[in-house]
């Protein structure tokens, strides 16, 4: 059960609502986000929902049978839009494109990619400065100094930044230089990181775990939401399967299913999803048709020279083609 509270509910009224919920036999969790105030009540007993709805300070009450609550589609009438500021908004039903390198490498690289994005009307640039690598001896990213450089150039170009955060202490370090945090597949169930991201006033793009189920993804989103941050995007980025012809298996089934289960926008990452450069375009287009609200993909001037993910990075011509095609496809009314 989700109890939406009035913004200015008095402390006395709040305590009474919580008391009534507990009296029914439910466990009450108070949730305060930047957008609202809720009590999430967990229990199985049947009761008259009006007994809660009529209390002072309660604006609405919703039964939500899903294991996840606040990210469920069962209570929120309007789908969530995520505002990055300056008019950049990721809207359900829209098509937000985010592109950039696997890893930020140099000023020259950043300048060239920013120019490409501006030229193609893309408003959000992706890029890693802290890289999660299987081996401790692999390139770990340029770190915070690289992020500052990137931030300065991106601001000049009017482009927003999304970048992966690996650790709680990086949240503050990165805070003034990113417009959206990204949580990668390996941290999809790093609950302490998720909780901390709930306390931040920036949107979060949350990737599905490498072998994670959709329910696990939604529960991880619930961690962030219930900790205070409603501005969330869900991202399908490929799962592990037995197939060896591709790096991962982009699971486009997740798109319509997540759209049905949750009010959060759904983004597709075809670059990690299939992991093979020449197949990124068909999978991206298929993702658009399957109903995603945005794409995030890897580009570079000379993909072959990238420090990482070279084999799945599009060059600028391929990127421009993909952008044009996704937009054309999105406009078609079937």
């Amino acid at each position: 059960m989700i109890i939406q509270l009035e913004e200015k509910i008095s402390e006395k009224d709040y305590l009474e609502v919580a008391e009534v919920v507990r009296a029914i036999g439910y466990k009450a969790t108070e949730v305060k986000t930047q957008q609202g105030r809720y009590i999430v009540a967990i229990g199985t007993k049947d009761f008259d929902i009006r007994s809660v709805g009529q209390l002072a300070g309660v604006s609405d009450v919703h039964r939500v049978s899903d294991a996840y609550k606040l990210v469920s589609n069962k209570w929120k009438v309007d789908p969530t839009s995520v505002d990055l500021g300056d008019g950049v908004t990721i809207r359900t039903g829209g098509l937000s494109l985010m592109a950039g390198p696997c890893a930020i490498e140099s000023e020259e690289q950043v300048r060239k990619i920013l120019a490409h994005l501006v030229e193609n009307g893309i408003q959000i640039m992706r890029g890693g400065v802290f890289k999660p690598r299987t081996s401790p001896y692999s390139f770990q990213g340029v770190g915070i100094e690289g992020l500052k450089m990137w931030h300065t150039l991106a601001r000049e170009a009017g482009i927003k930044i999304v970048s992966e955060v690996l650790a709680v202490d990086q949240i503050e370090t990165m805070h003034d230089y990113v417009d959206m945090y990204q949580v990668g597949a390996r941290n999809a169930q790093n609950f302490s990181l998720l909780l901390e991201l709930g306390r931040v006033n920036k949107p979060v793009l949350l990737k599905r775990g490498m072998s994670g189920t959709l329910e696990e993804l939604l529960q991880s989103a619930e961690y962030i939401f219930s900790s205070g941050n409603e501005r969330l995007l869900l991202c399908e980025r490929g799962i592990r399967t037995f197939e060896k012809s591709y790096r991962n298996t982009l699971d486009l089934n997740a798109v319509p299913v997540l759209k049905e289960k949750s009010h959060l926008p759904v983004i597709v990452d075809p670059s990690h999803g299939i992991g093979v450069r020449r197949f990124v375009e068909p999978m991206a287009l298929a993702g658009v048709v399957a109903g995603c609200d945005g794409l995030i993909f890897e580009i570079g001037e000379v993909p072959e020279k990238a420090y990482s993910d070279a084999q799945q990075t599009l060059d600028f011509k391929e990127s421009a083609d993909l952008i044009r095609k996704t937009r054309a496809l999105k406009e078609i009314a079937l």
Copy 2:
């Protein structure tokens, strides 16, 4: 290595070619299909390919490094078209639609579906008369008598039939009443069935195994081809994953990858692929955009009443919508 032989190669010349191949240290397999004659030579030694190409009776020689040979894209210039007769052809780059019930149940059911197909310009009807069921106590299909009834009605309506074959002895039983055999996921590595289907003068639609890799699918196709039958279709129908929100996980990554690896047409089955009725349409459309050459899907007048697969069957309105949308999507030049 694939050695294409001239149709009228003399026995003497044939023996010499085979002898030369063996002398190089390769194992030679003779393949005669309805369309051509080949020697498939397996080995690893390096040699001058011209020494074979110049022999009498040899029309062409191709190095094929893939584990599968005759179904590989590495030797055949033109993609394969599969002719079902009467002008019904499944073409690479086309969009062949096949629809019908999970299982044939009654004459009335067949008549209604045929009428729906004719009305919507669909030329091929799918349907099972021998059903592979996990439990021996589940409905096993109407059998050969049902197939004969269906065949009579389909002929009258000018519609072709594709139906699953479960056993070698059914090949002959079904022969005069089907236009294409289907091999299901559970028989994807039933090699004796595949070999026998190589000796039949009817096309075969071969489904990927439930946890099968693409290489295994192509090797299974190689069994049929090398046993004599070139008229083959590959079908992606969903793989087993950990996700519980859908019955299977339709793997659309397989579409562009199979198209690159093989000259055979690639069909997508969104009904088994995701297994949830309301998600069949987005997955079908995504499959078209990913580049498939056809779709096979389940329909019924009142899906809720079907003996099997009720939860993934489209009704006639949903079917007509899907057909219209796939065609509109196919015509778009991005």
Copy 3:
């Protein structure tokens, strides 16, 4: 529900029992095996079980809630023993060892292995004469002539034969030369083959499918049993996982779970299970401790020279060690 019938039940009494079952609303399947006669009744309605149990010709009635019925542990008091003749019996709680090459290759090979088996007190030899190979160009086995040779030598040595059957028509071909049929992982859901094996008077060792669940394995066993053959063994032989350090992942969890679910003996195949020679012994011993009733493993005089599965075959010294250790381990009362 399983209704055990008296051996000499009259036709009239039988028809009445079937009629009563149908009147309750259950679907009745008649099963006649070499050991008994049953009606398997499928339905969900509640009813007084005594109304069936008191009918003439009924010896016992059992509720079985599992999806599989006759192979379930819920009705059969005594675990199944499988008799191969001449005093060779695979007993629940015993430790039946079966060893031999992946593929039968030559008379010399067979003689040496038979001598090794006799020397070590092993009564059953495994070996393939029809080999299921992913590629049609790989060695497909020596066929029926090789089986006849093997059979002659094995009879002389007093050793029983278990060998894989790939196709319905091989059942009869092989019949006089094997003591037990084996169904491989790729045919675990080849239902027409399973049904036909139900009509044969020889035991069947049924392997789990490559990504098959235990319920699927038990349902496949149910196909054979309900078709007439009760002499069945279940075999765990490794499943497909993401791990690349071993060929398959031997799933020993299956051993205690299958033992609880079914009355059939459970055999472990550590050779295919892990697929790495030096790890076959620890996995075999772990299987014994986990509670299996037998082992089937691959041996050869010079494993490196085997036509197939060389990397998982034990030499005679390793085999003798393994045999000794498994027996020592089995005798320990913890």
Copy 4:
């Protein structure tokens, strides 16, 4: 390549070694642990290993072709023993038992379990105070105050503590109250946590990721080792598969394979591994026979009443039986 340095190598000599390594074209990473000092050099060029081995301050040089280096078996002659103080040591080839509840709940619970451990000669108690739960609304553990209580009682009883750490900031919080940190499956690739655990003077028990490969596990161990902490244990705790009869699939194949690949002790967790109480014993015993160096399992006075993992927790009688049997089994010389 791993270059072992003399403990008292001069700064000048160190710089020269690093310079020589770089001159060969290798990337050098300096590693200082509580036990030793190393340069890990990554590169592919061939060179004369003596050119490095003869440098001043170098005690030994080893080629290590594995992707992981310091945790590899290829360079370290003696297997690692992990000392928890007060004579409690986890030895390769030994059998260290660790038992306790899923979650610490109360003083009474802790006292009873400690008494059971003392009675059965167990030296290490497991228990969670910070619980990683899929849902944010589930019980999250008693936290640091519970840990302090547990620590006091355990010290009195002479029992060591291993407990899961979920976040970097918990490392310091927990430091004085645990004898070993545990990293759970969900954090198996939480690299920032791993790096931080490398800087701590306490052993770490590292669990395999839910769908993680053995190479990923070893690389995660490499993160901790190369960050400074050599006192590591690897733990197999079940992987995700398609089987629904058990919670996870305990992969005992990992035991002999990890023992071969690494010098670190290997622990088996049969409780999470199979997740079904009555099957914990056979899987634990099978793990011992497969060669593990220790077991970690869940116990409770009344398992049915545990806040979490009730279905996989042994009661004290089952625990005592298991302890007795594992020890008896370990003593057998086969």
